[in-house]
């Protein structure tokens, strides 16, 4: 029980609380008065003053805020350090780069929040899936409008990448990571089964997979990263459509699902592979790309249809059971595939901040995705793209780099670079990504594909559902 002495009376409570608030108010007001009444700092009256008045005033530093998803951030920090040095050397101005790295899963939501809250963001990674929406929202700008010299890069860009980074006829950025979906197969598995050649058609692939299954090499030789929301879901599936020599969308933006359409044939092939021949792993619906990569590395899958960069890890002797066994073949049938891009882009915020900010932001974008004279020799190089390629095996979307001896040397350890180049030359950009309803439609599409694999819907029903949803969203978008 509290004694009377220990109790705080209401009167005392109010008195202390009032005093605390009063002190806080007086302190705040006092600080404000101090701030407004202090004279501006006077220059020192030493000889330094004379020196300062004879020199042009130093330009204040430019602070560029870079927002990215976290992938090898130390490499980006190194490039940011390099551009700070180069900018100082070439322009005599301090360029500070602040990096905000966000996990990929949270990146899109984080950018939406940053933009809505007007949090300073000058340069940011943009994925082709979101580009149109972010452009329509007024968050990113066509860099060509502010830095026309960016068009000098156009001849160097892989055509599919250039198309992906272009909206309203203007270039919106420079490539950070640009890749193609490729077809990989385990050559050792083929040798054990006595199959000489990679499949030339999708039906032949199924037949090969059945043989691998019968031989006991893999119960489900084929697996995809088809968890809902997985970033390569549509790129992989529509690469199968394009490889059949078919387009999934017509010129009017209608989804093509009728008899003979590439999407119908692809859905039928998926259903057969999963349910009739039981060669497609139903676990695909819970797998992300890293899972597919690990399963290939363990020798449990004989095939992978995925972004080309994962072949580096699958063929890595340090971590993979099947190092050197995974080979590239052209996509079956017509050989076409989907190319996609992630780019360094400039925000409207940077533009609104004025010319210096645009210059600083563009310098950083060039450092990350373009060419910079790093050593002051007068020769510009794709410094960061080359670093990504050699260190992480990340493809780039820049044509001259396919001939770079250092990259060829590094990549030859895990892949046939010629075959990769051939496949890249047949990549196309999936134009549906530029529709404003694309992101709305993806979850419904992914749901139907997963139900198809589980045998919950027929091919006809799945196609009808995805088409109905496409048409509804298209109509809503006007």
């Amino acid at each position: 029980m509290l004694t009377e002495q220990k109790k705080i009376s209401r009167r005392k409570y109010l008195k202390y609380a009032g005093a605390a608030v009063g002190v806080a108010v007086v302190a705040a007001a006092g600080y404000g008065i101090y701030q407004t009444t202090q004279p501006p700092p006077t220059p020192p009256t030493t000889s330094t003053t004379t020196f300062q008045t004879t020199q042009p005033p130093a330009k204040p530093p430019i602070v560029v805020d870079l927002t990215l998803w976290a992938y090898d951030v130390p490499l980006v920090r190194n490039s940011a350090d390099v551009i700070q040095r180069v900018y100082k050397r070439d322009k005599g101005v301090d360029l500070q780069v602040n990096i905000a790295d966000i996990p990929y899963d949270a990146y899109k939501a984080s950018i939406v929040s940053r933009m809505q809250a007007n949090t300073k963001t000058d340069v940011l990674y943009v994925e082709d899936n979101w580009m149109s929406i972010w452009d329509k929202a007024g968050w990113i700008v066509p860099i060509e409008d502010y830095k026309p010299e960016i068009s000098d890069y156009i001849p160097d860009l892989v055509p599919a990448v250039r198309e992906a980074m272009t909206l309203h006829g203007k270039l919106y950025g420079l490539p950070y990571y640009c890749d193609n979906i490729i077809f990989m197969y385990n050559k050792a598995h083929y040798d054990q089964t006595g199959i000489d050649e990679a499949p030339k058609t999708w039906d032949e692939l199924t037949q090969h997979a059945v043989k691998l299954k019968q031989k006991g090499i893999s119960d489900r030789p084929l697996g995809f990263a088809w968890k809902r929301g997985e970033w390569t879901f549509e790129d992989v599936l529509f690469s199968i459509v394009y490889s059949r020599g078919k387009k999934p969308i017509d010129e009017q933006g209608n989804l093509l699902v009728d008899a003979g359409s590439g999407l119908r044939d692809t859905f039928q092939w998926i259903a057969d592979a999963a349910l009739k021949y039981k060669v497609l792993d139903p676990k695909s619906v819970e797998m992300i790309l890293e899972n597919v990569q690990d399963t290939c590395k363990a020798g449990q899958y004989s095939y992978s249809i995925a972004p080309s960069y994962i072949i580096a890890a699958i063929n890595d002797a340090k971590t993979s059971k099947v190092a050197g066994q995974m080979k590239i073949a052209m996509m079956p049938e017509k050989g076409a595939t989907v190319g996609f891009m992630r780019m360094d882009s400039m925000s409207m915020m940077a533009v609104k901040a004025g010319k210096d900010q645009i210059d600083g932001a563009y310098a950083l974008i060039e450092m990350l995705g373009g060419k910079v004279d790093v050593n002051g020799t007068g020769t510009k190089e794709y410094y960061t793209a080359k670093q990504w390629a050699i260190k992480d095996g990340l493809p780039f979307g820049i044509q001259p780099l396919f001939k770079d001896p250092e990259i060829i040397n590094a990549w030859s350890k895990w892949v046939d670079v010629d075959a990769l180049g051939q496949q890249a030359s047949k990549s196309v950009f999936f134009e549906a990504k530029k529709y404003l309803w694309w992101e709305d439609w993806r979850p419904a599409f992914e749901t139907e594909v997963q139900k198809l694999i589980a045998g919950q819907v027929s091919v006809d029903s799945a196609l009808k559902n995805v088409q109905d949803e496409w048409n509804k969203l298209k109509a809503q978008a006007g």
């Binding site: 409570y13 329509k136 929202a137 992101e439």
Partner: protein, 302 residues
Amino acid sequence: MSESSGTRSDNRFGLLSILPTVGFLTVLSTAPLLYAFALSFQKYKLTSPGQHPFIFLDNYAKVVDSYHFAAAITNTLVFTVGAVIFVFLVSLIFSLALNERFRGSGWLRVLILIPWAIPEMASALVWRWIYDSHFGVLNALLVYVIPVFQSYQSWLGNPAYAMPAILVPQIWKEVPLCVLLFLTGYSTIPQSLYEAAKIDGANPFARFRRITIPMLKPIIQIILVYETIMGIASLAYVYILTGGGPGDATTTLSWYTYMASFSFADFGQGAAVAVIMSVISLVFIALYFRLIPTRKFGAVGV
């Protein structure tokens, strides 16, 4: 000082004391809620910046008509009811065990809090690894250690398993707090009641049913309300473990509101789903208050 002026003074003091709390709640909770409510009646697409006309119930109509709604509302109800029931029962059992004094019970009381202290996103990633269909520890356990299955199962990819698979981490995460609440409740029940019941010949089950449960009603009410809200709002396990799949087996309203806002760039639609979630929560809460009246009973707030 007269009695009435004393009462007035008491009231004034009470009001002044709760003012900071009310202020914080208004700024951090009520205002955003009202804003979301207002947003749900506006066209608020990020692709039309600066144009947010009042469209009355259009967002709600769009939500109800959407591809995802039927599955989302069904799954949300299944998930929430499942989570509330299991969290309640498991934490009741654990708390009864931990309420007994035995060697190590103090340590156990601390250890049981660990799941509650781990951020939801981090624990979701751990559970993803546990469930992995090719290399996961759960499969290894059930195939090699306790051979229940002959081959590895797809916990997150099989429509029959996916909902239980996301419920387990939710229960694992929520049980510690409820155990703590139950333990707090037990400590406020007067021992004299149990002693009197013993003298009257009541067996342990009768004492639990006639004393413990009635005296815990306010705590039970808090747990049910809190767990319902947590169940309806739970996102991390759906987002990280299944993405709402396989098919639409785990598509929930929280997933839908997240996608509508941040992926479809439609804050109006996202707000409409959020309001629907709030209404469902309120219905549940009203039901609890009706079914479990606490005025006559209770160790807290009597």
